[in-house]
Symmetry: C2
Subunit: 451 residues, 2 copies
C-alpha cells in the first residue's frame, strides 16, 4: 500500500530537524519522500491513500529496548515485595505453569499495548517455545521486534534447540519485522564457559541466517543490582578483578552487537569497557526504581560516549509497556540525581527512545528516524487535547506531557496497524479475553499444586 | 439529581474496604448509601438515574494538594534550564503580562485536565484577581478546590485587598465547591512580621467567613530547595537556629490548618515540629525531580506520623496535572531511595492521593473516601483496556497501571461533570482555543516589550 501522511509536524530525529505543514510518502514498507505537503501532494496525491495529520505530530515509532513481553500475564500479580520473596514465592512458582500458548497470549497483549502507546519496535527476552511463541505474537500484531531466547547454564541443550529453531524460523522473517537474538540471562546465571559458547553460537547463527545489515544480536541483563559481583563469585567460585563489564570483556564476549539491560551497578572501568567494545545500554528507570535496584549512571555513560536507549522492562516490574512514561521518568530522575535541571533535556531523551534504541538493536539502518529509505515506522500524535495545550515546543510536549493514549495512528513497516486507536491487525477484545482465561488457568494450576 | 452507580468495584479508602458488584446511591451532593447492587437497586432503583459500572472501578476522586492552576498557560514554554535562568529569564518576564482573564483561562484549562484525569479537588495557589480568577474557573468547570492568594512582603496592601475579597466572595461558595486559603509564598519571600500578620489575618477571616467544619486554611512553599535557610537569612538579615519548620514554629504560625508544599530539605527537627503542630505535607515528586530540587524524606515523615499527600505542582514544572503519574512516581522513587521495594506500597500511595489529601486541606469530613454522608466526589475507571489486563489487584492497577485517560466518568458534589470522557460543564474546544489565544497574546506582549 502507498500512503501519504500530510499536513503534519514531523519530528524527524535526523539532524534535529522538525518540519511543519509537511508530508511523508510511503511506498510498500519504506519512506520514499519527506517534504512540504504541497510538493508531495502534487507528486503522489493522485494514487496514494491519504492520512490527514493536521494539528498532529508525526514521530518515529518508539523503540523499547528491554521487555519480557509474555510476562504481561503477571501484571499486578505481585508488587511491593522484597526482591527475593517476589521472585521465589510469587513469580517463579507461577511461571512454572506457563505454557507455550500462555507465552503467545502474554506477548500478544504486550504487542497490543506497545502499538497503542506508539511503540513500533520491542526487544523481548523470554523463553522461546517452538509451537507458539513471542515471535508469532509480534508478527500477528504487526509489531517489529527482536525476539530473544533467554539462556541459563542449567538448560544448555534446551537452549541450543530453541536458539537454532528461533534463528532458522524467525530471523528476518514476517516481511523483515522480526529479528532474533541470543540472550544469556545474566552473568550470574550463565557460567563463564557457557557465556563463551553462546557468543560463538551467536556468531555462527548470524553468519548462517543473518547479514551485515541484519545481524543476529545479543542481549543480557547486566549490573542490575549492587550484589551482582558477589553473586557471580559465589555461583562460579571465581574472583572478579573488576566490575561486571570488565569480567564479560575478559571472556571475549563483548562487541557492538551486544546490548546490556539495566547497567545500574557499573564501575568507571565498566563504562570504559562499554565504550571500547561498543556495548549498548538499555536504561529501565521505572523497573529499577520499583524493584529498588538503584539508579543507573546514565549521565556518566552518555558523557563517555556509550549509546544509551530506553526500556520498560517487564509488565510485572513496571507495570506498563508505556515508553512515554519511561521517557518522562528518565528525564526527571537524572536531573534530580545529578542536581542539575538542565541535563537530560527532552531532545536527548527522545533520541534515546528512537534512534539510540535502533542503534542498541543494531537496526539503525532501517529504523529510529524519519528519513528517506528507512522503513516507515511512525506514530501520529493528536495534539488537540487539553493536557497538550498550549503548544510552545513539540519535543518538550512529547517527553513531558504526551500520554500513550494520545497516539492516534501507528504505521509499522509501511502498514497501518492502528488507526484512530483501533488496531487493524487483530481483535483486541478477543486477545483480552484470552489473557483473562490464561490468567485463570494459571491460578487454578497454582492452587491445585498448593493443595 | 439522584444517582445510582451500580455493578462496580468500589475502592472505598475507608477501613481498607474494597467491595465488588456494588452500588453507590447519591442524593443531591452526598453519598447516602453504599452496598450490594441488588439491595440498593431495590431501594433506589425506581427513581434514580443509573450509571452502569460493570467492569469498572469507582474510586474517591483524587485530591491534588499543590497546584498553580493558571500556569498551564506556560506549559512547555521553558524546560531543562537552570532554576535561576528558568525563573528570571523565562517565567517571571512572561508572567508580568498575564491578565486576570489569562489567569481565569489558564485555571479553566487545569480544571478540565484535572477532571479528565479523575482529580476532583485541587488546591491552587496563585495571584487572586478580583474580576476574573481561579475560583470562578473552578466553579465554572464544576471542580472542587481550595483557592489561595499568594502573598509576598513587597505587596502587602494588594494582598490584603485580594485576601478579603477572596474570603468574602468565595469561601464556601458555589454550592460549597470552593474554599479559600491564605498563602504566604515562602519563608524567604515573606518577612517574619508579615508571616505573623498573615497568620492573624487567616484566623480573623476564618472566624468571620469560615467555620469549624469549613475553616479558611493556609498553604506555603517550604523547604523546597537545599539553600532555603540561606535565602531566609540573606533576605531578612537573621540567623536561623534550626530548619525551616522550626523557624516557622518560632513565629507561631504553624497549626493543623497549615499545609506545606515540597518539604524536600527537612531536618529531623523540622519533621518533629510538623508532627507536633499537625502541619501537613504536600509531596510533589515530579516537580521536585524535574527542577532538581531534591527528594523529600517522605518515608521519615510518614514514620513520624506526619500527614503526607500528593501534588502535581504547576503545569510548567511537571508538565501535567496528572495525579496517576504522580502516584506512580511517588511509589517507585521512594523504594529506590530507601533501597526497599516493599515500602510505599500501592495502598499507602492511594491513601496519600485521596483521604490524606483531604486531611491536608482540612476537608476530610466531606471528601477523600467513599462513605455515607460524604460528598459524592467519584471517578469511574474503565478496566477493559489492554494495559489494565489481566486484573489481579485493583489497588496495584490504580497506582502502577491506570492512566488518566482511563477515567471515564467523574462526579463532583453529586453532579456528573464528565461522562464517557465528555465534560458536561463546559465546551472544551472553546476553552482550548481561548488558551491558544491567550498564549499568542502573551508572546506578542513579550516580543513588543523586548523591542
Amino acid at each position: 500500500m502507498n500512503l501519504l501522511i500530510q499536513n503534519g509536524t514531523i519530528i524527524t530525529m535526523h539532524n534535529k530537524k522538525i518540519i511543519r505543514e509537511s508530508a511523508i510518502a510511503i511506498e510498500n514498507q519504506a519512506i520514499i519522500d519527506v517534504g512540504k505537503t504541497q510538493v508531495l501532494k502534487q507528486k503522489y496525491g493522485r494514487s496514494y491513500e491519504k492520512i490527514d495529520a493536521k494539528g498532529k505530530m508525526i514521530i518515529p515509532g518508539l523503540i523499547n529496548t528491554h521487555q519480557h513481553a509474555a510476562m504481561s500475564l503477571l501484571r499486578g500479580y505481585a508488587d511491593d515485595l522484597p526482591l527475593k520473596e517476589w521472585l521465589e514465592k510469587w513469580i517463579w512458582p507461577i511461571e512454572q505453569h506457563m505454557t507455550a500458548h500462555d507465552i503467545y497470549v502474554g506477548a500478544l497483549l504486550t504487542a497490543i499495548e506497545s502499538i497503542m502507546g506508539g511503540t513500533t519496535t520491542v526487544k523481548t527476552m523470554y523463553h522461546y517455545t517452538l509451537e507458539q511463541n513471542e515471535a508469532k505474537a509480534f508478527a500477528d500484531a504487526g509489531l517489529r521486534g527482536v525476539i530473544g531466547h533467554v539462556c541459563f547454564s542449567w538448560r544448555k541443550k534446551e537452549d541450543e534447540k530453541a536458539l537454532r529453531d528461533l534463528a532458522e524460523n524467525w530471523h528476518n522473517k514476517a516481511d523483515g519485522l522480526i529479528r532474533v537474538s541470543v540472550d544469556p540471562h545474566a552473568p550470574y546465571t550463565v557460567a563463564p564457559e557457557y557465556m563463551k559458547e553462546l557468543h560463538e553460537m551467536r556468531r555462527e547463527l548470524s553468519n548462517r541466517y543473518g547479514s551485515k545489515e541484519a545481524p543476529i544480536t545479543s542481549h543480557i541483563h547486566a549490573a542490575e543490582t549492587r550484589d551482582e559481583v558477589e553473586k557471580i563469585e559465589h555461583a562460579f567460585k571465581i574472583k572478579l578483578k573488576e566490575g561486571i563489564m570488565a569480567y564479560l570483556d575478559s571472556l571475549g564476549v563483548l562487541d557492538e552487537h551486544v546490548a546490556a539491560a539495566h547497567c545500574v551497578a557499573l564501575t568507571n572501568k565498566d563504562i570504559k569497557v562499554m565504550k571500547k567494545r561498543k556495548v549498548k545500554a538499555s536504561h529501565n528507570p521505572i523497573s529499577n526504581l520499583k524493584l529498588a535496584s538503584g539508579i543507573s549512571p546514565v549521565l556518566k555513560m552518555l558523557r563517555a560516549g556509550v549509546t544509551v536507549s530506553l526500556g520498560t522492562d517487564s509488565p510485572c516490574s513496571n507495570n506498563s509497556a508505556d515508553m512515554f512514561e519511561v521517557m518522562k521518568v528518565a528525564a526527571i530522575l537524572h536531573k534530580a540525581v545529578n542536581k542539575n535541571p538542565a541535563i537530560m533535556p527532552a531532545e536527548q531523551i527522545l533520541k534515546m527512545a528512537t534512534i539510540e534504541g535502533a542503534k542498541t538493536l543494531s537496526w539503525e539502518r532501517e529504523i529510529g528516524s524519519v528519513e528517506v529509505g528507512k522503513k516507515a515506522d511512525l506514530a501520529i500524535i493528536n495534539l488537540q487535547k487539553p493536557h497538550l495545550c498550549p503548544l510552545y515546543n513539540e519535543t518538550s510536549h512529547i517527553v513531558y506531557s504526551v500520554k500513550a493514549s494520545d497516539v492516534e495512528t501507528v504505521i509499522i513497516n509501511g502498514r497501518i496497524v492502528m488507526e484512530n486507536r483501533k488496531l487493524t491487525t487483530l481483535n483486541v477484545e478477543k486477545a483480552m479475553s484470552m489473557v483473562e482465561q490464561a490468567k485463570n488457568n494459571l491460578l487454578n494450576k497454582l492452587n491445585a499444586n498448593v493443595k
